[in-house]
Symmetry: C2
Subunit: 409 residues, 2 copies
């Protein structure tokens, strides 16, 4: 008899975005014709950079002709892209990453979700709270999270690292030994950023405990403070203990185009039960080549174009546009008396709503016709907060903040 993976039955249905959708639909039904401004989901809204568009057209033309057609490419990505990544995203910042340590993929969500497959089922996993739900859910599916505890509102088998106002949503190191740590800076959902000194502590912890850090840097392009690290490989020793995930989704508006990559340094090791060190690069290479077949060729050309002088200028403009929205939102909310994190080196503004997350969400929806995301949806430490996203037109952001100001003033 065919049986299911019963770990799936421990998954808690995520009501966050479906709950939001239901409340929004109810509002729209009750208020037909009312213009709703969506600052909820973290999806970009502006067209792709022109350099990427040109590259997509040119690669499409290549695919039309037998003489320039491309079939299966290397599963790890074309050298032209891996080389551009190593040079521009790492070596230019003094971080040692080689092209053959880069695995091009179709999404950081996929890679952060899949990477745990090459690790043992009984490793102890630490996540921050609030947290991007994919880190938790993929470990539940694999069976590492234990049972859902209704009383604590958490999985018994996971270690939760609390973010709060006191630590500025940069959680402290775990007080019990853990093997695998998910970190995300600039953070989704809180917009908090980690300094070099803070990341150094994590690298030192990982080395001391032979732990592995899965570092999600999908929002690094929004860092404007020159003292902040963009990559964990800017920290000495990180190559031995950290895997890094990057994405073009927010960097260049690729949420619907799909391209990302993962860096697994050659020195990064995990161990067998008998203590023998095994290269995670070799394991991930085996996983990637067996279960993945490479990113669409025109899309890889579009990603390469991001690194051209034109592409670099265009994404800087794109990011500056969203960061200007973020600054504006943060200033207005601060002026209204609400404490904010993020919005300076991140497209997200994390706002202490001084009330229940959902109550605050409902207030903004019903009285200002603005959609945000209730922080409680990202973990119990998110209760009382809301996330506002800067991904929209400046005109819409202005209008949203006028309406919110009228409601909260």
């Amino acid at each position: 008899m065919i049986r299911i993976n019963e770990n799936y039955q421990s998954l808690q249905a995520s009501y966050l975005f479906s709950d939001i959708a239901k409340r929004v639909a109810a509002f729209q039904k009750a208020n037909p014709g009312k213009k709703l401004i969506k600052l909820g989901i973290g999806d970009v809204t502006r067209g792709l950079p022109d350099a990427c568009i040109k590259a997509l057209h040119a690669a499409t033309d290549e695919m039309a002709s037998d003489s320039t057609f491309r079939g299966y490419g290397p599963e790890q990505g074309y050298d032209f892209l891996r080389e551009a990544i190593a040079k521009h995203d790492f070596q230019a910042r003094g971080a040692n990453v080689q092209p053959d340590e880069v695995f091009v993929s179709d999404g950081a969500k996929c890679d952060t979700g899949n990477f745990q497959e090459v690790l043992s089922l009984d490793c102890k996993v630490a996540v921050t709270d609030p947290v991007y739900p994919v880190y938790v859910d993929t470990n539940v599916m694999a069976g590492r999270a234990g049972n859902w505890n209704k009383e604590t509102g958490r999985y018994d088998g996971l270690v939760y690292l609390d973010g709060n106002r006191e630590n500025g949503f940069i959680p402290a190191l775990p007080t019990q030994p853990v093997d695998l740590i998910y970190l995300c800076f600039p953070n989704n959902p809180t917009g908090s950023t980690a300094t070099k000194a803070q990341l150094q502590q994590w690298v030192a912890y990982a080395k001391a405990n032979k732990a592995l850090i899965l570092f999600d840097a999908a929002y690094e392009a929004f860092i404007t403070d020159d003292t902040l690290p963009h990559s964990i490989y800017e920290i000495e020793g990180a190559r031995e203990v950290a895997v890094e995930f990057r994405s073009y989704s927010k960097t260049a508006g690729f949420t619907g185009t799909r391209c990302a990559y993962t860096v697994v340094p050659k020195e990064c090791m995990a161990h067998t039960g008998s203590g023998e060190a095994v290269s995670l690069h070799a394991l991930w290479n085996r996983r990637h080549t067996t279960k993945f077949n490479g990113v669409s060729y025109p899309v890889q050309r579009a990603a390469e174009a991001i690194y051209s002088p034109q592409g670099q200028a265009q994404i800087k403009q794109l990011i500056a546009y969203y960061l200007n929205n973020a600054r504006y939102i943060r200033e207005k909310m601060t002026a209204l008396g609400y404490a904010c994190i993020g919005g300076d080196n991140s497209p997200y503004i994390w706002i202490d709503g001084k009330s229940d997350s959902w109550a605050f969400f409902d207030k903004l929806l019903n009285e200002a016709a603005v959609v945000c995301t209730p922080g409680a949806g990202f973990g119990k430490c998110g209760q009382g907060y809301i996330r506002i996203s800067a991904f929209n037109s400046f005109e819409n952001v202005q209008e949203a903040m006028e309406r919110i100001s009228a409601v909260l003033r």
Copy 2:
């Protein structure tokens, strides 16, 4: 201490394509200037259909403008594509598949590799021999295959269903109970095809044993015999016991463009340990939305264009071109006195070389400068056979067969 998934250590290094590459490189070094004709790897060689090229350009233009830009799409695929698939690929053939049962993805390799994740780790898995290696390796990674047995050249935990000259490489039903069965028709690598009566036996077996069939139909577009089923859902009752994988890689030359899909019917069930039936559609939906973020929007538009009248005419022409190559290869090899399977409803011709697979491979390489694939690389039942692929220009195929004829005559 972070530990690895030790199942990976049971993986047998696949030397097949790297061995081929080494022998080819050695030949080229020894014979500089000699034109090599590659009929080995199953990768298409002709440009994308014009309808797909037009759709890629048009969708790229949409991505350029804020007003038509597309960000995150539904993880399961856009409705425009799911509806076209259900209508043209299934309903038009009398098979009941609904749009919301279709999960669009970036590859059948990914989906056939990933689907086992939603199933229990102790289910008994049956594969055919010869076999597409992904079915085996992904079960080894999950821990279902047991130990590699050097004496048998097989994994102790898998059930192997032998293909051979007597059964025309359509293996018989298992003689011991199995829970999960991987089938692929038209078959890679053998090119064998299953009749409705044969598939009916498999569906009946699955129903009687509460087993699940994972049916890989990536090559269905090459079926020319009207009596052969293209989909397992043409068999009554299959919706309860089968998941089907399809790909545009060979259908429309999408090996480098990346689009495929998986059908999970709503009636298809697996069970908990206590015998409760659980919908695989719901489980796969949860897996797909958690670990995947949808296929690139321009690529989905290109896939949709395959179903336009122009697209249909163009892919028919494309497939007819490769099938003409296949027919030509089969006729020549048959005339030379070699027994062949496939090449009529499949782009692969599976040839009894009447000698060791690698010896035959070496003979064709060194004496005819033609690259094929040794059948032994696909399992012990492949020993003695070679696979020749029809994916090349007709001119190259003609020249290859002239050279082979000169060597084997």
